[in-house]
Symmetry: C2
């Protein structure tokens, strides 16, 4: 007689869980996209990571790209809305608002798994242009408008110097997005580390150039 260690027979080979699948798929996908990029992520792995087979994936999403669209739509759009609301309702001085806005971005995007998304989109923009177009329309333009509006508010109210608001908005955004790109690309190969000072110093530099010199104001 042969003694064999038998695996406990699972009560059933699988469960039907229509409700939970989409979210589980999106979470698995974002994690893999972050790690490998869009093109290099295999649908078999997304499926495995979400605990299903590849065929099931295609019951819920019609293609790899549609999964990415959903990730952006479901995860980033809500964050932007939050911030838009914050800006719309803010009453205090504009430099405080701007400071708070930059910090909010850092806390809600820069330090979360969402920080991987800009790098993914940028990386794949050449081979998946629809994906880039979607991201520009859904995220980039809205975010830029947000910063442009805040700078404009400061200029109009007389708190800030007269500046090119578009160019300034870009100068504010650049070091923030750049930091996330770096995090998800070269950081592992770079022994230098990004201190918290980076964002603080960025805020300080930007405000120093924006806020009117108080010497002659009374």
């Amino acid at each position: 007689m042969v003694f064999s260690i038998s695996k406990p027979e699972p009560s059933s080979r699988w469960k039907r869980r229509k409700e939970d699948r989409p979210e589980e798929i999106l979470n698995a996908a974002l994690e893999l996209f972050t790690e490998k990029g869009f093109a290099a992520t295999r649908m078999d792995d997304v499926a495995k990571s979400a605990g299903i087979s590849k065929g099931t994936l295609y019951n819920y999403f019609e293609s790899k790209e549609s999964i990415f669209h959903a990730v952006v739509q479901e995860m980033i759009s809500p964050e932007i809305e939050k911030v838009e609301t914050m800006v719309a309702n803010y009453k205090g001085p504009t430099d405080h608002l701007l400071r708070q806005l930059i910090r909010a971005w850092w806390t809600n995007v820069g330090e979360t798994r969402l920080s991987a998304i800009p790098k993914i989109v940028i990386s794949e923009s050449g081979n998946f242009p629809e994906l880039a177009e979607f991201f520009v329309e859904t995220v980039v333009k809205r975010a830029r408008r947000l910063f442009t509006d805040v700078v404009s508010r400061g200029v109009v109210s007389g708190e800030f110097n007269l500046v090119e608001t578009q160019a300034v908005a870009r100068l504010i955004i650049a070091p923030l997005v750049y930091a996330t790109i770096w995090q998800h690309s070269l950081k592992p190969f770079d022994d230098d580390y990004l201190s918290d000072e980076y964002v603080d110093l960025h805020i300080k530099f930007i405000l120093k150039s924006l806020i009117k010199d108080q010497r002659f104001d009374v």
Copy 2:
């Protein structure tokens, strides 16, 4: 009798041009890497674009990655050396040096085809780590040291405020590199355009925060 339009018989099917091949291959490769990225560039296309067959490619370079290494080595390193020399020999005021350094970077990298390289490396860092490591060692660290040294010079000489030189160097580089990444990724999908003011304003903002306030100096 059949009249046929005969192609002029080429005197020979191909020429042996050992000397010129490597450079032609690197040029073709950089162009395709820029357009499609590293992974998505097919060796058949590099060959075709360089006017040879795929087999010949492998007489000159042992792999796709080795071609990329050669591109960085041959094209970027000389640029960095130029700038290092400029910095080492500069005698005038540090703010002029910094201004000139940023402009030099923009002219010699930002506005040339070399501007594509950061985006390529970042995009492929996950799937081709050796490539990223090579780039960090060969380019990133040297460039950062350059800017850090210049800021330090200003601080030591008393021209600049006492600042975290590492963090400041990053803040200087970020908008520059970010602009090149944007150029080669999202720009085609973004109707907003990058005006020349962007770099000028960046220089202005940075120097405003670095240069000591002259009010109490005589």
